[in-house]
């Protein structure tokens, strides 16, 4: 019997699911090797679990979703998070440093009708996760690498070095050196192909922290470049601001400035 694949969505923009669809022909080939049993964005035929592999997009931001992810986990042999929201809480985790009740009042005339938890948290804060794919959005190549490995029954291995290394491999001029641009490349995980420096701008960290990032040295570099503490803090508290390494560095910076 073919392995059964499912795709679930929580709080997110659908971009990572779109990358699944963007896998295109490879996805159709995958449909030969796996049975896509549940993927509401792509199919109106939903079949119940159990599933062999669940791809989970999005973060947990409501009480109902906190219950739903437990059921997804129970139904799935392997659970893989796809993207910054599912892996680190996403951009919507910026609320974690604010008051969600104030957010509700700011956006909605009737905040009392809006159901939302005080925090946006990654899937791993709620259930066991077997593999995490980083990126906002995820990279199609990384997704296929992981799916093929899991379907073949081998542990997937993805590199976790920093974007800097990719930049050097592409022979790009360093935007920090040449333009004095603040760039998260030294502490951000590989996966995008160094597209920001390739377009002559600094990286903003959408693949999350690299393996063992030296954030102490990095925040020192931002200060040397003349960024105020507030500007540097906003760099860290972005798409992946709630990822542990960025969160720790950002919180330390905020504490120093007495925020």
């Amino acid at each position: 019997m073919k392995p059964r694949l499912a795709v679930f969505k929580f709080a997110s923009c659908d971009g990572c699911q779109l990358q699944v669809l963007n896998a295109g022909e490879q996805l159709l080939a995958l449909a030969g090797a796996a049975d896509i049993a549940y993927f509401p964005e792509a199919s109106s035929r939903a079949r119940p679990g159990p599933y062999d592999i669940a791809l989970v997009e999005g973060s947990i931001t409501t009480a109902a979703d906190a219950e739903r992810i437990v059921r997804v986990r129970a139904d799935s042999r392997l659970l893989v998070t796809i993207g910054a929201c599912a892996t680190a809480g996403g951009i919507q985790a910026l609320r974690n440093w604010s008051d969600v009740e104030e957010y509700k009042r700011a956006v909605y005339p009737h905040p009392e009708w809006v159901a939302a938890l005080a925090t946006s948290t990654p899937i791993a804060a709620h259930v066991r996760v077997d593999y995490e794919l980083w990126g906002c959005p995820i990279d199609v190549g990384q997704l296929l690498t992981v799916l093929r490995a899991l379907l073949a029954g081998v542990p997937p291995g993805l590199p976790a070095h920093s974007v800097c290394l990719d930049c050097k491999r592409r022979g790009l001029t360093c935007v920090v050196v040449a333009q004095g641009a603040p760039c998260l490349g030294p502490v951000t995980r590989t996966g995008c192909g160094a597209i920001c420096p390739g377009l002559q701008r600094g990286c903003y960290g959408c693949f999350g922290p690299s393996d063992a990032p030296n954030l102490e040295a990095f925040t020192g570099l931002l200060a040397q470049q003349g960024l105020t503490r507030d500007e540097a803090l906003r760099r860290l508290r972005g798409i992946n601001g709630y990822a542990p390494a960025f969160r720790k560095a950002g919180d330390a910076m905020a504490n120093e400035s007495g925020e």
């Binding site: 969505k9 929580f10 709080a11 997110s12 923009c13 659908d14 971009g15 990572c16 779109l18 990358q19 669809l21 963007n22 295109g24 022909e25 159709l28 896509i36 993927f39 509401p40 964005e41 792509a42 199919s43 109106s44 035929r45 939903a46 931001t61 409501t62 109902a64 979703d65 996403g90 951009i91 919507q92 910026l94 609320r95 969600v100 957010y103 700011a106 956006v107 909605y108 005339p109 009737h110 009708w113 809006v114 159901a115 939302a116 946006s120 906002c136 959005p137 995008c192 192909g193 597209i195 920001c196 377009l199 002559q200 701008r201 903003y204 959408c206 500007e231 906003r234 972005g238 798409i239």
Partner: protein
């Protein structure tokens, strides 16, 4: 429940971007309850944008929607350029139009082939459709890739591209890069025509109602980044007046903010609205194609939206090729930007219709207030209105068919539920 009364629930609304469900109760031919429920939890973009630097806004608002990030970037940069009084080089303006063509092509190709076509061909998904008509699916994917290639050249990747900034782009392509892109795009023109013939052959439901269509209108172009706010009901106003014409209300017992126009009621935005209001702005070659597909424009049958989308794919490829052929690299990739305490708003034509954004900034260029009105939240009241008309005719149908018809109606609007920053989960039920 009597034989004349029943409830239809579409538990998970499939093949839309985002997740929602429909709850509909019909009693004695009367719709007594109709709810398009949205599972999408609020993400509070307008709240967390406050305090961020204006330069960060294009990267952040892109994250509202993975399907149409370019639209969110474009409305954001135009609004902030108005706030800061930035003049954009006409050659940069042309590149932005090219960028937007890319998004229309990829988003429409995705919707037409992968999400909507299965409705008309009796399939549950694109995987089933591929088993039946692999050539059509492959054509759709080629078209999508052609659109993606444009976005990738200007923005590095197709989902959440990174090249757009206030004032222009962070980097502009060399002419040679556009020549390579041209080679990718040129064959897509034939694919687009084949897709238009394909959807022109679909048997479309006949839905007729009084619908007010709203779109931008530009003096000489088919609208994308600029134009006045116009409607088939006689609205003709500058973009800045959006707020005084559109009212958004949060309604109890409903799942979304409901948008109404000038107190008249719901309205429809998107490809059909654009075509209905701008068919005379199509270049002659595309106008000929549009008039030979068996549908007269303007028309109020929202089922023809899929044909409008296919026509816009043809147009966007035609326009992209024109822009490539007339390309002159701008001297500067981006105009200089001097932040100031100000406010600015802009509407651009996202693939799904007009997208309004307005910002207030402080002297340092930090966002004080943000407002974002996506196309899907503008369409929602109109979708519900059409469902109310459809509902009585569903009584005699088997449940599966009734469900299918409701789903297909909703999908003809290509609702992008993740985009709809204002969609709510139903919390208040009892009256």
């Amino acid at each position: 429940m009597t034989a004349r009364s029943r409830t239809i629930e579409v538990k998970t609304l499939a093949r839309v971007e985002g997740e929602g469900s429909l709850h509909l109760t019909v009693e004695r031919g009367e719709v007594t309850d109709l709810r398009l429920e949205i599972f999408e939890p609020p993400r509070f973009f307008e709240a967390f944008l406050r305090g961020r630097d204006a330069s960060e806004v294009p990267d952040l608002t892109a994250r509202i929607c993975g399907i149409c990030p370019v639209a969110y970037q474009m409305s954001a940069v135009h609004a902030l350029e108005r706030a800061f009084g930035v003049e954009v080089d006409p050659r940069v303006r042309a590149l932005r139009r090219l960028y937007y063509c890319g998004e229309w092509i990829e988003s429409h190709a995705l919707h037409v082939h992968l999400l909507a076509a299965p409705d008309f061909l009796g399939c549950a998904s694109v995987v089933e459709l591929a088993a039946k008509d692999r050539a059509a699916v492959e054509r759709g994917m080629r078209l999508k890739k052609a659109g993606d290639a444009i976005i990738r050249l200007l923005g590095g990747r197709s989902v959440h591209p990174v090249g757009a900034c206030i004032g222009g782009f962070t980097r502009v392509p060399r002419p040679a890069e556009l020549h390579v892109l041209r080679d990718t795009l040129a064959p897509a023109g034939d694919d687009a025509l084949a897709t238009l013939r394909w959807v022109g052959g679909f048997e479309l439901p006949q839905r007729h109602g009084e619908i007010e269509f709203v779109a931008l209108r530009h003096p000489d172009e088919y609208p994308m980044n600029e134009g006045r706010l116009t409607s088939t009901g006689g609205l003709n106003a500058p973009q800045e007046a959006f707020d005084s014409h559109v009212e958004e209300r949060q309604v109890p017992h409903s799942t979304s903010l409901h948008a109404t126009l000038d107190g008249r009621g719901p309205y429809c935005v998107g490809p059909l609205a654009r075509l209905n209001l701008n068919v005379d702005r199509l270049p002659p070659e595309v106008a000929t194609v549009a008039s030979s597909c068996g549908v007269a424009w303007p028309n109020a049958n929202t089922a023809t939206s899929i044909i409008a989308r296919a026509i816009e794919i043809v147009y966007a490829i035609h326009e992209a090729l024109r822009l490539i052929d007339t390309y002159e690299p701008p001297v500067r990739a981006a105009a200089p930007v001097t932040p100031r305490a100000s406010r600015g708003s802009a509407i651009t034509e996202a693939p799904r219709g007009i997208l309004y954004q307005a910002y207030e900034t402080d002297a340092a260029g930090r966002i004080q207030n943000a407002r974002i009105v996506p196309p899907t939240s503008q369409n929602l009241a109109q979708i519900e209105a059409e469902l109310r008309v459809l509902a009585p005719t569903l009584l005699a149908l088997p449940r599966a068919e009734a469900t299918r018809q409701c789903e297909a109606l909703i999908r003809s609007y290509d609702p992008c539920i993740s985009c709809a920053t204002h969609f709510l989960r139903l919390e208040v039920e009892e009256r």
